[in-house]
Symmetry: D2
Subunit: 351 residues, 4 copies
């Protein structure tokens, strides 16, 4: 921590502050500049809150943090090595991580009925996806909109898993549903709106299933890594970070602004695997292919893509879904750059 | 709903779409412009999702909503009349609303111990506050930061209530704590980070205590009113809306951007009472007084102000807290404009 | 400047860097923390660019600026005293500043014809305004929209000045028009879109007329003060800062987000006078009164309010204009709080 | 245009409004919904301002634009075909556009001296760039920062052009410099801060050299296309759109948020060629390669990359510059995906 004193701070006050920090168990080191005095705090400062330090004296102008506030999520925590999240599925273990082929997660926003979810699962499996996504519990802006079929949809996801061997990713919104979801899901999703639902983060951190943590709509990268830190600190080390578009000043032509620059930034800050969701990220099916291509080129470890057998009849998020045929084509397009980059798994699977 | 067709849409497609809408029970009305065709949809359109309509045809360029998506929260729902939220407290019923004096809520970010919470309660009561705020369960960005004293703090809030007669406002973060909180709290707060925790909204909507709904950091006014709608739709009609600063591109000198323009905007859109929290809204005690003044001048129904007996020792949010003496002075300053505006309750209370 | 080294930086590299800074004429002071080494740079650092320092070594993690980048605009530059901008007008000198009554600037977005500008001037003068605003050259998003009547409108502003004695404020968009504008205007406005048109800032800084510097739509407070610094550094010390709404994620109900929290922030950072423009700041006439009230309560030195004799026929920005009657009423409402705050000039002027 | 009336609008008022629109030469068509009446305006509505319409009656709730406000910039203006900007350079004509190989523009932020600019030009030419960028006039946030060497730097750019045959791209900040710049530059850049300097846009539109129009930091896509429209409407049809990062709520790890999703959005809205600048877009050299890769995968027509022979000694923007060696390597990496996508020009040029 660096404590910057206001111009004209009395020497006695600077000394008093330094003594206060000594009483906190820290070693203050003073630098006297031309206009300002700066105090460097040496010692166990990670858990200190800059805001708390600021209150030690009205003569403190600002407190600058030098250490990152996240520990377990930081790349340094693993000596610079990437981590991998290995997920057992009926088709075998699938690993998310920097040194693995890109994992493709596909499926509808909501599980609507058995026929559609099984058909979708078969189609995306045939095209090369390893995971099926599908919402049983849906966060909807309006209380009057379709809220997901809930527990009954979990059964349909299990059936789709049985039918195709795909791993299942589905969202938990309420800790009360966690056990039921964990029985079916291979990866449990925390949605953007719950990224800072700290009670829920602690609970998913206290169980075993890997967690897909979506970035909040206005979450800074630091907020996001601190949310991951909640899960890691609670004991679950299998966390995948998913960018799904942020909220900016322009929402006229795309629902959100997909922030692909998080890929190199996260790579340098954290060891955790990275997923990109261009479907929610743009909100429009026609922009998904070019953003999926870009995500691969930028180095993502995984993609989440909405696929619906009949997007115009989708009960939620239809306009951002691809048809299975379009998804088929997209997978072939992705291979064009995934292959030369050495991140593509090879031939599409055949069911 | 207004459906705008792309330039060059085939007439047959426009007819097909119109028929589809008829099959949905709507009456489509076609307007043929110079370049574009527009279809107005007449009928029960409020529950329709524009995104769903868009998927009816690839020739649809955009779907414009004409109706507001919120119903119970809308001003029209009460024929243009303001609602009031009347809260019984030991000192008598306190009403939040456009036709009542401004209600002042004050207290520390966290309940730290019995002495501090009772002292603070007595001081803010003496200065004229009607409610005591204090966190038992605290949402903190870091898992390593102080998370609140939890249930034991609820007992201290009850003691402060007994000692002063002030109403109590405290936050719920986890539905599992709701019953315990509802036993002590006169108003239950939903924090900014849980504004779209829809599971929690439904649960607080299904109980009786009034709800203080803080605006999410990047929540549009429509998102916020839709979150209120969740509570109203679940059966609880006592909702107060609290602005606490939004996230913008500039965070260097103030932690958030306090959006006071919500006051006239909300007034025109909704009947619900409005509260402003300049403490979180700016993050710095020195900016609180002028923003509290501004909030009153703009027409707020209520203010929430952080007060801590010794801000520099506060376990959370110290830099934005006022001392009891500064709060005393501020209340006198607020009266200078609150009185001529006819929104001030008169003499500060004497304990 | 504080230079933070990456974890694991080799000692030899830290020494090399320190020597490099010595060669720049600076005195580096090293603080060795638990995980990181930090170097404080003492000396003439204000003109250094943190980005330039960062390039000295790939082992540098970040560079933190301790000094503010603005000098002449800073409050410290005047030893904490406010400055005033005194503007001679036919009706006498009007001073903008913290220790003066609030100055009200009113008038239409564009000067449309002689009758309308003179009528408006007379009405706003009668209601108590000291300055007439009116655009001769208009920045418009579309090249097909009305661009202002240009030089001929300057003549009409001069006529309105003669008829009422009001000072004139009008915008310069092109340095080629500066002389013509300076002949008529008592204060020259730089619009939000030109806030970082540095060529223009230098030119208005090199002439004598006071400058009204509107904040850019996404300008941080620091960007804005640095734009003022351009004018001050060029020799013109008469700069008024005008907040007119920033661009945020929500534009549905108000055109911009009026950032009233700049008032206390600017007060602490700069000596320059502050103006608030609630008309552009909200974009809707119905929100103007409550935001004007709030601006006064928050401590603004000046208000800019759009008034048009017939807003629905306005050639630009009609919906945010008040009628002269509504402006009359507003001035009486503003007096209700301006008077007890000691910032109101007294009786409305009588022409 | 769609005019939405407030709930409860009197029939007489709706009729009066309809008549007013008839008097404007429009054909109003009325749709009576369950709660609201909507009026579609048929006729020449493109040049109408929604704000102006809103003022016709206080009973108008909102005005929705159905037509896009840009014409010449719209894809429809060219019947869906892409345009190309063909620029003659000593090495031959280079074309920017959807049906051409990706054009690479490289060079330093500022022209510092003859040796550095010629060395850089030779190196980027050898690596495969077709254009040299270099600032003679630099927009700098601080008046105390290096402002570019001005006219003398133009001479050095001409020398670099002679030495390498590369085309030259440099920025104009002041119309007074336009002639001198146009003598040297093959493409003239309008910087982000001048994107809405409408006077300058008109002037560069009235001359012949192609224009590179950078997106403003908080410019919506519509704002940006309307700025292009200014240039097109003034007679210059050679405009290239360059994304260079937008301002969002998070600036901690990257200077701006590079918005790659503009690529598919612009492709659908406009025929103009697209350039991406990952150097300014992220502000850090280490993020440039992955963002350049992503831009190609997303379909950009051109890249602008900062290269400096000794970034740590750069007079401006050092930290975002690549060394010539790193640029060499990057060009080979880009070919890995540029080739299979059919957008790469083939072998690097040999000088």
């Amino acid at each position: 921590m660096i404590v910057v004193m206001k111009v004209g701070s009395p020497e006695a006050e600077v000394s008093r502050i330094a003594e206060e920090f000594v009483s906190w168990g820290l070693t203050p080191e003073k630098i006297v500049g031309q206009h300002k005095v700066v105090i460097g705090l040496v010692g166990e400062t990670v858990s200190l809150d800059p805001l708390q330090i600021q209150e030690v004296s009205p003569w403190i102008e600002q407190v600058l943090r030098v250490e990152q506030p996240f520990k377990r999520a930081s790349r340094a925590y693993r000596q610079g090595e990437a981590s991998e999240v290995a997920v057992p599925t009926p088709n075998g273990t699938v690993s998310f991580g920097e040194h693995h082929p890109i994992v493709v997660v596909a499926g509808p926003c909501s599980v609507e009925n058995e026929a559609m979810i099984i058909e979708t699962a078969q189609r995306v499996r045939a095209a090369g996806a390893q995971f099926l996504r599908g919402g049983a519990f849906k966060p909807r802006t309006s209380p009057y909109a379709f809220q997901g079929h809930g527990e009954s949809a979990l059964g349909l996801l299990a059936a789709a898993r049985d039918a195709t061997g795909l791993g299942i990713i589905t969202e938990v919104m309420d800790a009360a549903d966690l056990d039921a979801i964990a029985e079916v899901a291979d990866v449990i999703q925390i949605g953007a709106r719950n990224m800072q639902n700290f009670s829920l983060l602690k609970k998913v951190g206290a169980q075993d299933k890997p967690i897909l943590l979506k970035r909040g709509m206005a979450a800074t990268i630091e907020d996001w890594l601190m949310a991951a830190e909640y899960i890691l600190a609670a004991g679950n080390s299998n966390v995948i970070l998913c960018e799904r578009g942020i909220r900016t000043f322009d929402r006229q032509y795309a629902r959100n602004t997909l922030d692909l620059s998080v890929i190199p930034v996260l790579r340098s800050l954290t060891h955790l695997p990275i997923m990109i969701d261009p479907s929610h990220g743009t909100g429009r099916a026609e922009y998904v292919p070019s953003m999926a291509m870009a995500a691969i080129a930028a180095g993502t470890d995984s993609l989440m893509i909405e696929v619906h057998p009949d997007p115009k009849k989708a009960l939620s998020d239809g306009p951002q879904s691809l048809t299975p045929d379009r998804f088929d084509g997209l997978m072939r397009e992705l291979a064009v750059i995934g292959n030369p980059l050495g991140r593509w798994a090879g031939q599409p699977a055949v069911v």
